[in-house]
């Protein structure tokens, strides 16, 4: 290999580590329950037919073996903590450790979602402050934090679009999606009951205004636009795009996956976007965790 000393980290690649099941042997334990302070029950007589007779084949190991197992597995992963992770569209930025620390603070981490609101004031304040910050950053008027990821946010946003059109008397039939879009965009439009119509990009990889003008009609519910686009370019004609859509009563949805290029420099709410989602796991540094969890807040204009 002609690597001439270039490159850096090397993971712990040579360690062999079988599956956790292969390391198991009966009778090993990594847990200890406190003594029962109530009378023991006979599960099989309490549950009758519903009692589980055969146990699931879960592994049986001691604590040190579990620590080693998962630590060894971890060494087979690349990670932001090891080095640059230039995975486009995913915004693999530093995941600050204080985030992990505060998310585990007593009272926040152990709050039950159905606890009385009087006992949840702290978390509600956190939610409120985050909402206000995100509305300011996006320049939008309202926000919901409920969606669990970007794609889930798209789903929420397009349902919102649909509900609005319905309130105007016609749900409309199609959603325009540029050929440069992420796969979740068309998949989302489809699950919202819309036909997906492809919009061909122009020679610069951006929205072709003429094609847009041709394709937008009274049955167009929205355009799902990523801005900056998936080639990392700002749609400088964004105001024209919004105008063309709005003239036909269609809405502009923005996939906010690339918001890391805009925070503090430009606001979607100012350039004509009606509804958008953010990815807290991209722009706002929450860890990707090997594929999740994420969070995909949806922000929109007041009329929605």
């Amino acid at each position: 290999m002609a690597m001439q000393g270039i490159g850096k980290v090397r993971a712990h690649q040579t360690q062999n580590e079988g599956l956790v099941f292969e390391k198991s042997s009966p009778g090993k334990k990594a847990y200890k329950l406190p003594p029962l302070d109530v009378p023991a029950v006979d599960a099989s007589s309490l549950l009758g037919e519903a009692h589980r007779e055969t146990l699931a084949a879960l592994p049986e190991l001691s604590e040190i073996e579990i620590i080693r197992h998962f630590t060894r597995l971890s060494t087979w992963n690349y990670a932001i903590d090891l080095g640059m992770y230039p995975l486009g569209s995913c915004t693999m930025k530093y995941n600050p450790r204080v985030n992990e620390f505060v998310a585990r603070i007593d009272g926040l981490a152990d709050a039950h979602p159905y606890r009385p609101e009087s006992l949840a004031q702290g978390i509600l304040e956190v939610i409120d402050l985050l909402q206000r910050c995100l509305m300011e950053i996006t320049g939008m008027d309202a926000i919901t934090l409920q969606p669990a990821a970007g794609a889930h946010g798209e789903f929420t946003g397009i349902l919102l679009v649909r509900a609005w059109h319905e309130s105007q008397g016609n749900a409309r039939k199609k959603v325009l999606i540029p050929d440069s879009a992420h796969g979740t965009n068309p998949a989302t439009a489809a699950i919202c009951g819309y036909a997906v119509e492809n919009l061909k990009s122009n020679a610069d990889g951006g929205i072709d205004l003429e094609a847009l003008e041709r394709q937008v009609d009274e049955e167009t519910a929205a355009l799902m636009l990523t801005n900056p686009s998936t080639i990392g370019v700002f749609e400088s004609q964004i105001h024209r795009i919004a105008d063309i859509l709005h003239a036909k009563g269609a809405l502009l949805y923005m996939d906010g996956a690339n918001m890391n290029a805009l925070v503090g420099k430009a606001r979607p709410g100012d350039f004509g976007v009606d509804v958008m989602h953010l990815n807290l796991h991209k722009t706002f540094s929450t860890p990707h965790g090997g594929g999740g969890p994420g969070s995909g807040p949806v922000a929109c204009k007041a009329f929605l």
Partner: protein
């Protein structure tokens, strides 16, 4: 800014190399009228110590030292310490979806282990790598059944978690998929089998039930399966309390299982992140939503793992995908995997038996108080039960809160017919002392004038 690894001189050097006079030049592509020139109106930059103080104060306002009998789809179980120490390893925490298999074998193998454990526990053949949560998992399971059967109707038990039913409603809204709601038997709290039989037709794609159901009652899965299968419909069993599988027979008669795995070592965190997962019979594999990890070999014949069957997914199939899901709940699934490894085969049973015992004692003790009575006693429960009181729950709840106890949740908010009925949950972390204290408060109802 302490997260940014650049000195002013380095920034200048980079700009010079790029050939830009200033950073603003790089933003000139944004039309001037849309350039944001003022400061964002967000709190000023804070020191780490200030951030911690802020969140500590918020946590303290939430009150931490209350005993709690809340369940209803979010369960308090003890979380072994090693879960957080392992999932905070940067290699797990700060890694992306394992698309590049060579440098994500750790995540891939751990997911493969998760899939195996979930399949083992649920009695299904295969399980996926996770869904957002139990509610979206159940909705996606119904859509999956629709694809498998080519049918367009769903029958849903009223004893399925009401919020899960709402999510299902949202997911199905534009699918032209009518759902029929089937009530519950008042003696047992189980789905009304006669009504279910009448509701399932040749057009039914799926029957969705939850077990243990929202009232904590274990459904008669074999009987329900027979009714569904007789008409060619699939049976989907939703499991909101995963720990129940330590003592409760898995729903092997089901075709699809949608489970919320939060109970496996995942903090309550005011309702999320949790961890949904879909498991199913092998023959339905190609209609599964979400990521799947499969075993394979590399070019030297070594065992390794990859994401597989991705032709079902949005990045390949776009609008024809089985789901739009991309990011899932991977790190939370890892928590569950570690939890299940800690408890293991025997431990998960012992843990479930402790839950059973606590709830049995709590149910008997609370029901023994004057004016209190258990509902749905005609069928077995896991660790939740419904208590009806003569006194309005709002009244005794307040007295309980004064004693720093959060009692059961009122059911009338979802089931208006269940007046003065509350759903209680007692997991292994609830103590006898707390149960006795709650009973004492219930007993202390003011005498009516």
């Amino acid at each position: 800014m302490r997260y940014l690894p650049k000195s002013p001189a380095e920034r200048d050097r980079m700009l010079a190399d790029i050939g830009a006079a200033s950073i603003d030049e790089l933003f000139e592509v944004i039309p001037a009228e849309y350039r944001f020139t003022r400061d964002l109106d967000v709190p000023r930059q804070q020191a780490e110590s200030e951030i911690i103080s802020y969140f500590r104060a918020a946590g303290a306002k939430n009150a931490t030292d209350y005993a709690s009998f809340l369940g209803a789809g979010a369960y308090r179980h003890y979380r072994p310490v090693i879960i957080d120490s392992l999932v905070q390893r940067g290699e797990f925490l700060t890694s992306y979806t394992p698309y590049q298999a060579e440098i994500t074998q750790g995540t891939l193998q751990a997911i493969f282990e998760f899939q195996t454990m979930i399949a083992e526990l649920t009695g299904m053949d295969v399980a996926n790598a996770s869904m957002y949560d139990g509610s979206t998992g159940a909705a996606e399971a119904v859509l999956m059944a629709m694809r498998v059967t080519g049918r367009h109707k769903a029958v849903v038990a009223a004893s399925v978690h009401p919020e899960h039913r709402e999510v299902l409603h949202t997911y199905l809204k534009y699918r032209e998929m009518p759902t029929a709601l089937v009530g519950y038997e008042t003696e047992t709290g189980r789905v009304d089998l006669a009504a279910l039989e009448a509701a399932v037709t040749e057009e039914t794609a799926a029957v969705l039930v939850q077990s243990p159901n929202f009232f904590g009652v274990i459904e008669d899965i074999p009987a329900i399966a027979e009714m569904a299968h007789k008409k060619g419909a699939l049976l989907i069993v939703s499991i909101a309390e995963a720990v129940s599988l330590g003592v409760v027979k898995p729903p092997v008669e089901a075709d699809i299982v949608s489970m919320e795995a939060q109970s496996f070592g995942v903090a309550l965190s005011y309702g999320g992140p949790f961890c949904g997962v879909i498991a199913a019979k092998e023959q339905f594999l190609r209609q599964m939503p979400g990521r799947l990890v499969g075993q394979t070999v590399d070019r030297d014949g070594n065992r390794g793992f990859v994401l597989t069957l991705s032709t079902r997914e949005q990045h390949i199939r776009r609008e024809k995908a089985t789901s739009n899901i991309c990011t899932n709940q991977a790190l939370v699934a890892l928590m569950a995997t570690i939890f299940l490894t800690v408890y293991g085969k025997e431990g998960i049973r012992e843990l479930a038996e402790h839950n059973l015992a606590k709830a049995d004692y709590a149910a008997r003790t609370l029901a023994a108080q004057p004016g209190a009575k258990l509902l749905f006693t005609g069928a077995p429960h896991f660790h939740e039960f419904v208590l009806r009181t003569e006194e309005a729950p709002a009244a005794w709840s307040k007295r309980l809160l004064d004693e720093k106890i959060v009692g059961g949740i009122e059911l009338s908010r979802w089931y208006p017919e269940l007046k003065n009925a509350t759903l209680w949950c007692a997991t292994e972390v609830v103590t006898r002392e707390q149960i006795d204290a709650a009973a004492k408060v219930l007993a202390a109802a003011p005498v009516e004038a």
